[in-house]
Symmetry: C2
Subunit: 520 residues, 2 copies
């Protein structure tokens, strides 16, 4: 049976190592593991930026951040960029959304093009060509959202039920406490589990899938968890003890006098200083795991419905995340920098095609980039591959066990202009970027502003504690990584207004166009 | 008096060395020289691509080709890109056009955004935000153009008076011959001089400037000459003999077994094979010089009107070209590759401000890029410098003799996908690019597709005959040039949807936006 539907599941801030099937010694994720058993788990999958906005814009455009230009959170995606929703529209299909996108309208571009009205096109453009079942981005109060209305209908009387219930807790003295304060992560949310974000979003997706019947669909089911605020509803807040979490990975060498200046400044951000306290780690990590366990529970509900409806026969399912979370590793909190706990993400692909039967349950170690998702989906639906735009590759060749030449490096980027670290280093506004090249053995990070590179030998130092970026003995390695980076830059897809077939058609064709230069 | 007007004059395919003031031993350009005497002649000005379309899109956006993506002729500029016309519109001004732009609408992008209608905005978008006095691109028949109508009104009865008169000649036997054939370049055009393209375009500009009175204006006066077809009207067709042309610059070493494969294949294009004949060079070069002499004559008319109207007091004037022409040098015809006769262009800037008095008549050898024109114009009009978009630099610091740190290299690019050379090298459609880094001493060209680089030592080999791209002795030079190229790529301006002031405002501001992550 041909693939008819696509279920593109994205979690927010879920680390690659926080899955049962990825080897977590305590955290149980039986439903995610179920999907891995039916599909292929890509064990070396990397995002294109370690922060929500640019990572997602890469996922939704199939293009690197250097190409699409939405380099950080709250940097709008240019109205000139083409997204998955548009690729589907062109083929007469739609891209439905339940949950988060972090999409921000290119207000200046839309104004220039007189697209800032209230019509259907303007709405679609503002949403990056997603059709909304329900959108909520989850990391700030959205008091006028459908979710807030729904919460109020469930009895959570508040102008802002997210702040007052979803991420709030009640302390031992009966006082309501704000869930932004990480010290409260040991307490349960003031919202009931079935009214939490993960439950709500799953419900919307289930309603949609069920109502669709046998009509084909493409759904982006985009959970806002386990992203902060780290407040889990009961019983998930207390499912794991601090001893049942992964040990923190940090080393004194990371804070010595030779530390990279940007790393040093990121260690001085408030979130890093909080996570440098053992108590913070011991408080947040169990809640983070609880939020993942809750996610897993709801994915189980989802699989059951899909099974009942026969959707496992005709639906491609991708389960992934937009980046990880330091949680105190490397003396850091939050994300953005280039350690594997940020850049490497869960990536499980279920391909219903019988051609993929031979790879079911396989753990695939070849490198995947998040930008592969979009070409994979177009491939699955037999749509135009838009190779003049898409910088990733379809993964169906891998799920179907074809013998092909594959990439041997992945690339990610950061625009750290917006961080206090930039100001503390005395740098003016403008553009302050970094690029990561990661091969099997090496991780190289190239910085602008004359800052020295970072380099890690992952064979000898898989935990990325010992930065060889300034070690003269490794100059040849660094040079070879710069060569790779240069080759990567030269291969970006900049000619977006003409397809490759059109380029072929127009080659050496001036005379057909009435231009006869060069004749003697 | 503040600068009120801008006259941005572009010639098409005019070599840097074909000006009297640039040292041509025979060609007289007294009027261009007059401008050079009143302004600054930038002797090392480089375009960002050696072919009309991408070179002009760089000039009109102020951005490198790798950034704006219109990589070759007939590759539309993305509707997401911002042009000089829009910068002026935003400031309540307009950009008028007389002549050529090579602008092509991004039909697919406009369709996606439902901008493919017939309203004023759609027209402006199709024209890249130029307001047309009159447009004609000049290198192919435009039988429905205003120029064709005007020619017919002057008595040139034809469906296509450009083909039948403007670029046609009458041979010794009284037969009309097609001007596309370069052998006919020794004969005069069938159009009278005052009806030729250069005269017509000058007339339109003069009418506009005169009608404007004291109202401010910005005019792109964009000549289609001395671009092929190389047919000059009398008396200009016969103004110069072959002996009064520059000697052809070519060397047997360029054709030896070690020639770069792309160079070798370009030498096999029809236009190159034509120009490999001495007779072709001896026929075309005099006509090419005649077309320049004609241009110079009409610029004299223009200067006289500007003088009479007092416009030299309040008008910034830039005179330049979009690229050069091989004319047989290096065994090549046409353009595209990276020799100085293609990439280096005339560039004369007249700054009326008294602060520029000290530099009048100066020959400035510091490097200029064509993308400097746009920031210079915005600077002259005291408009927003749009530094988040513009990759060039205002030249007013140089005309006004300010002491500043300046660039020490220029960059240009080529997308040679569309050339037969690509097919002859066995390469499929897709993207086949090259980038030039030129410093005072070195010219380095970096190719995709695993092709070896080119390298010229301009100190020892100013004529660029001896390609050191494969010479092991120069690997350190090549590596340093690759480092420069990498640094250039990292500095391109990709974050187009947010100004630098907005980036500053949003730095470290999450709490003001209601996002309190990281608090313990």
């Amino acid at each position: 049976m041909a693939i008819k539907n696509i279920l593109y599941i994205m979690c927010d801030q879920l680390r690659f190592d926080h899955l049962g099937c990825a080897g977590h010694p305590f955290l149980k994720t039986p439903n995610i593991d179920r999907l891995a058993a039916r599909g292929v788990r890509f064990d070396h999958a990397y995002v294109q930026s370690g922060i929500c906005g640019p990572s997602r814009m890469s996922a939704y455009t199939g293009r690197y951040v250097s190409t699409h230009g939405a380099t950080h959170n709250r940097v709008p995606l240019s109205v000139g960029e083409v997204t998955l929703g548009w690729h589907l529209r062109e083929a007469g299909r739609r891209l439905m959304l339940a949950g988060k996108t972090h999409m921000l309208p290119d207000a200046r571009g839309m104004k220039r093009l007189a697209l800032d009205g209230q019509n259907e096109l303007a709405v679609l453009l503002r949403e990056g060509w997603f059709d909304l079942i329900d959108r909520h981005d989850g990391h700030h109060a959205e008091p006028d959202s459908a979710y807030a209305d729904w919460l109020r209908a469930q009895g959570y009387q508040s102008k802002d039920p997210w702040t007052d219930y979803v991420i709030a807790v009640t302390d031992e003295k009966g006082r309501t406490q704000n869930g932004w304060k990480m010290r409260h992560a040991r307490l349960p949310a003031r919202v009931r589990e079935e009214h939490s974000e993960t439950a709500y979003t799953t419900d919307r997706a289930l309603e949609f899938i069920t109502a669709q019947g046998n009509e084909p669909w493409v759904l982006h089911l985009s959970y806002v968890k386990p992203h902060w605020p780290y407040i889990a509803p009961a019983p998930y807040h207390a499912l794991y003890s601090p001893e049942e979490c992964l040990p923190v990975r940090r080393h004194a060498a990371e804070r010595d006098a030779n530390a990279h200046p940007v790393l040093r400044e990121f260690m001085r951000e408030e979130v890093a200083e909080s996570f440098q306290q053992d108590e913070c780690i011991a408080t947040v990590r169990p809640a983070y795991q609880g939020l993942i366990a809750q996610l897993d529970h709801h994915l189980g509900r989802l699989w059951d419905v899909l099974e009942k409806l026969g959707r496992f026969d005709d639906t491609l399912i991708l389960f992934t995340s937009d980046h990880g979370d330091y949680l105190g590793d490397h003396w850091l909190g939050e994300k953005e920098l280039f350690h594997d706990c940020i850049q490497r993400v869960p990536f499980i692909l279920y391909d219903p095609d019988p051609a993929a039967d031979a790879t079911r349950g396989r753990v695939e170690t070849r490198f995947v980039e998040a930008i592969d998702a979009l070409p994979t989906m177009l491939d699955a639906l037999a749509l135009d591959p838009a190779e003049h735009l898409l910088e990733g590759r379809s993964l169906l060749a891998l799920t179907r066990g074809q013998d092909i030449v594959w990439r041997d490096a992945v690339f990610s980027e950061l625009d750290w202009t917006f961080r206090g670290a930039r100001r503390r280093l005395g740098l003016p506004t403008g553009q302050h970027h970094a690029w990561m090249v990661r091969t099997t053995q090496w991780k190289y990070v190239h910085w602008t502003d004359g800052l020295r590179p970072m380099l890690f030998d992952l064979a000898k130092d898989p935990e990325e504690f010992h930065d060889l970026g300034a070690d003269p003995a490794y100059e040849a390695v660094r040079e070879s990584m710069r060569e790779r980076l240069l080759a990567w830059f030269t291969g970006l897809k900049r000619r977006t207004t003409l397809t490759w077939a059109e380029a072929e058609f127009r080659t050496d064709r001036h005379k057909s166009a009435g231009v006869f230069y060069g004749e003697w």
